[in-house]
Symmetry: C2
Subunit: 423 residues, 2 copies
């Protein structure tokens, strides 16, 4: 172990110790106290825009100097308007109901013991993310409102911007008389820093990775701490034998092209063989107009003149691009099996006017969000009315689908007795 | 890799593939179909007692030949009465309400999209446990009732008993026309089998380890699959300045001695310095009568004549024995800090007649179950009215405290539209 690695290990352990101490302080804050901090953070971020933009410019320059792709440079870039958007997001979180202290269930046993199941913070949450510096503020506002201390590990590309935003937030917390360690940002860009964070068992209660499939996989494989897996979406739309093609085409265009780089975008169509002849020419036309390349299986390729042949690999690929694969099936059961084989448990939709097939699909497809006659693009915390989201969970443990404030909570049992012992 | 290890890897992967296929079949079973299987399994286990006892005798003989501790041999032993107890437990699970298909939440968006949040099975659950063969049947009945396929890895000591019980269950499932792979037992006793199971990402949805702290730690450290941590309990009782000593003593006797080897037994007392003089002589007498050894800190040892000095290590030890440590504190805040430093997040109790201190303790102690004036021994699925339990979760993700049928479920969103696209 080099000296640097030893130093990183030591510092990150020390951050874990500080976070654990801070979580007991934060858990005591009232809703009003938390909201006051959030509103002041929003204001202070706007007031500190010069300081933040100056640091952001360093990240931008470094990215450009190193030949970063212009799309990535754009994700990295902050502007006055983007800082105002960040502040608006924080103000919205302040307005959401406090998820903590809710009595989720209660009972009184025959022996008189009163049992209350009460929502509590998860404790210390570690969030590992990539380029966009706005995540620093978003992640803080949601975890903080749910009473959690956060340790952030942002992308190394955005290190100066993230440090500047974190400094502003810590300043506001401290000014309010609280422990600034309610938020800590790991200042190291070395890769070993992620592994050290993933080893903070006993200090960090939950890890949430946000970003590419590769990042998420690395985190799941290496974490000694429970992880909530988010993100990757290989989403399908199944065009049933009984689909209304007039509904299908706009839904496909929306799900594929409204925003191509997001996890709830559609990546693959599954088509019932009986609707193939009527549907595929319409699809071909619509996709051509929208500049979407089709990759078709052997049973559909003849009706899709400008498509390429789909390989097995295509069906498992989240393109995040203007590409869509097409698979033909004999019936809804085969469609469900195909989707359950290749999907990532995110969002899947059936287009049908047949209730029985809709029901089969809703129950049979194994995914966080299963749709009938609607675009997969609705899988989103804001759209679902959660107010905001920290990500889309694609695992089944703890939370599934859009994760809002409630999903950032745990619960405890509080049991009130009067001397009861177990017989 | 030796041939054996390669064979184990291949076979366990094949079990994962079979389990994944079976989970879609099992998810379709109605409540009545599941209950019919459970009742027939209960009957068939009793009818097959000769076959099961014969296989159990092999495990017992091997254990005795290898000099196994008599206590462990007893845990391993099945009898006609124990098989009837197992059957009774399964019949009780059949009577519990089905946790699947419940609408947990619903809403209609402005655009007309109807969103239902519905409980669904977790999918495939891997359960890793130690000696007791009754766990084989218990784990099956709970996971099956909640619509989950199970892959079991029992202790190698009990391999013949576990295989016999599993064979009976599979026979009943098959006789009912279903896929016997609803339950599979890993037939290998080699240690590598556990690691292969923990690597079945994409096939197994959740791992639940049941057993010693060491087993649980190994599973958490090595799993590529989400884990629900269960089990170890370093439980405290805090005797507040305002405690009623007449309530405290019976609670301590109950929590320490009613069953010493269980996770909800008390392991440590925390004593307010103002009640020390009145309380400790009573404690000393009661513990002497119950043959409990005390390990006392420097501020309590003079009042506990037969105690040994407590070390730092004592405060972090789950004795599971007739031993209790004693720590003196200045106030309830110090008691809470001490407990949060040394506990395992299981069960903690305050003895006090003071409402404010009770409230502080209930909110400040970070544990699944926090008690006022009651024994920690109540932390149990049956006691809490859950009907049965698969274990006590000591983590904050997904489930905390006693885990019954509901905690063996996930949920999905079902969204019904009529052509909606995202603007």
């Amino acid at each position: 172990m080099s000296n640097d690695a030893a130093k990183i290990k030591e510092e990150i352990l020390s951050m874990g110790v500080k976070a654990k101490a801070a979580k007991y302080e934060l858990a005591k804050l009232s809703t009003e106290e938390k909201n006051k901090v959030l509103l002041e953070v929003a204001e202070e971020l706007v007031n500190s825009k010069d300081e933040i933009l100056k640091e952001n410019a360093k990240d931008i320059k470094k990215g450009e100097d190193e030949g970063m792709h212009p799309g990535l440079v754009d994700r990295l870039r902050l502007t006055e308007a983007r800082i105002e958007d960040i502040a608006l997001g924080i103000r919205q979180v302040a307005e959401l109901p406090d998820p903590i202290g809710e009595v989720l269930d209660k009972s009184v046993l025959e022996n008189g013991l009163k049992i209350n199941k009460v929502s509590v913070p998860l404790g210390v949450i570690g969030i590992i993310y990539e380029s966009r510096p706005n995540v620093t503020a978003d992640a803080f506002s949601l975890t903080f409102k749910a009473g959690n201390v956060v340790i952030l590990k942002g992308g190394s590309d955005a290190i100066c911007s993230n440090l500047a935003i974190t400094a502003v937030i810590r300043r506001v917390i401290e000014r309010n008389g609280y422990n600034p360690d309610f938020i800590q940002l790991i200042p190291f860009t070395d890769r070993s820093a992620v592994n050290e964070l993933l080893s903070l068992r006993g200090y960090v209660d939950v890890i949430i990775p946000r970003g590419s499939a590769r990042l998420i996989r690395t985190v799941c494989d290496n974490s000694k701490i429970p992880v909530i897996e988010t993100g990757s979406g290989n989403c399908h739309i199944y065009i049933d034998e009984f689909a209304d093609i007039k509904k299908a085409i706009p839904i496909i265009i929306n799900a594929k092209t409204q925003r191509i780089g997001v996890c709830n975008a559609a990546e693959s169509l599954v088509v019932h063989e009986k609707i193939r002849d009527a549907f595929l020419p319409e699809l071909s036309k619509a996709m051509k107009e929208n500049k979407v390349e089709l990759r078709a299986d052997s049973l559909s390729i003849d009706l899709l003149p400008e498509s390429k042949p789909a390989t097995e690999e295509d069906f498992g690929t989240e393109y995040l691009d203007y590409i869509l694969s097409v698979k033909t099936v004999k019936n809804v059961d085969e469609a469900i099996s195909h989707i359950n084989k290749y999907n990532t448990g995110h969002s899947e939709s059936i287009i049908t006017e047949n209730k029985e097939n809709a029901e089969k699909f809703l129950n049979g497809v194994d995914a966080a969000c299963v749709y009938v006659n609607a675009s997969t693009r609705f899988t989103d915390g804001f759209q679902f009315g959660l107010g905001a989201e920290i990500g889309i969970s694609t695992q089944k443990l703890h939370a599934r689908g859009p994760m809002g404030l409630k999903e950032l909570c745990s619960y405890k049992y509080q049991i009130i007795g009067d001397g009861q012992v177990r017989p």
